[in-house]
Point group: C2
Chain length 227, copies 2
């Protein structure tokens, strides 16, 4: 008997591609919170039937990006200040845990490379284009922090939380400079090099706290549904 259920490389079914596509559009801010997602329109736009769309919806719903109401259809989830606070609170706790577990196993040299890239943003002002570049760096940075924590579920959860945060950041109308955020990232790197647990946690939490504050602005303004 051949072996069942072995891994199958990186084959992507339509459902997977649709899923990635929609998620990407939502995170990028192309699909604003509240906008409805009619199956047929999407299916025509993507040249697939409705089945893969519906399957993708179910995954996106579990990840918080899409809200499905039976017999009414799917829509991009609304973001409220409450949601933001909830997400950041959980992330603070879990990322602290992840970093604590990663200590000694973090690739500092990789992290420093990312740090150097960060520096280039220090005087740039935020716009759609370089914000996306910045968020790519941000993802790399935080991934490096928790990558080796040894808890797969934790890594998965953190990845989803980060996606949500990047989403609302792309959706927010707030425009600032990157300098504060860059400084904080560099401070975390320094703390890691010093190997001072307390300082590490402190700089990390400071970073997340400020990120939350700068996210808690201009929310609720794009809701397309009245409810």
């Amino acid at each position: 008997m051949k072996e069942y259920l072995e891994d199958l490389g990186n084959y992507l079914s339509l459902k997977d591609r649709v899923y990635q596509n929609i998620k990407f559009q939502i995170i990028r801010g192309n699909l604003k919170p509240g906008t409805r997602l009619p199956e047929e329109k999407l299916s025509r736009a993507m040249n697939v039937s409705r089945s893969p769309i519906r399957e993708a919806f179910n995954r996106l719903e579990k990840e918080g990006f899409v809200t499905i109401l039976p017999r009414k259809g799917a829509a991009v989830s609304n973001i409220t200040t409450e949601t933001i606070e909830d997400i950041f609170e959980i992330r603070e706790t879990l990322e602290s845990l992840a970093v604590k577990k990663s200590l000694g196993k973090i690739f500092i040299d990789e992290l420093e490379k990312v740090g150097d890239n960060f520096k280039e943003f220090i005087n740039k002002s935020e716009n759609a284009e370089n914000r996306i570049q910045y968020l790519v760096l941000d993802k790399k940075f935080h991934d490096l922090l928790s990558q080796n924590c040894g808890n797969k579920k934790l890594i998965e959860l953190l990845a989803n939380l980060q996606e949500q945060i990047h989403w609302l950041r792309n959706t927010s109308l707030k425009r600032t400079t990157f300098s504060g955020s860059v400084r904080e990232h560099l401070a975390i790197i320094e703390a890691l090099k010093g190997n001072d647990k307390k300082l590490i946690t402190k700089t990390l939490l400071q970073h997340l706290e400020r990120a939350k504050e700068s996210s808690l602005i201009e929310v609720n303004s794009w809701s397309a549904t009245s409810k």
Copy 2:
């Protein structure tokens, strides 16, 4: 214009019913880890077409109960000791947070009622039937602890983690008495009445720690797939 996307009572589509049904079967242990879930067989057994089944799979996958491999199909996820440790670690952190946030808002009287129900189990030995009753109580207890923490996402996450723990408990071959677990639950109630934060956290963590230890046994024995 009428209002879009308003809530629609407790209507359950086929997909929802299928989802609940399969999840229930998995948690109860009727569907053992590793067993494949062929769409057509399930669809014939439940008298529905394959579409609702596939949609349910996508949700169950995100919740960790089912593993989908493209072109190969779905199977009940395997539980490893690693998974158990991962889940408990996250749960310890998040439930501590939830309880901390709930302090002062916990319905102690409700909790004490549950505590009384617990006492009836103190000398019973574990078997399939009264374990299920016990887990219902356990769910009530932990729900009461975090219900009022004010963070919806956190509540959602904890619910999923608890389901997974109950799942592996129903799947495990381990058979013990309830006495230890009951004692710990009562200790938590007492600590809450005393309003001593440190003691509350301590009893909670002790409980979760022992629960983990008693779960970390006899795993990997039921895997149906060879891989």
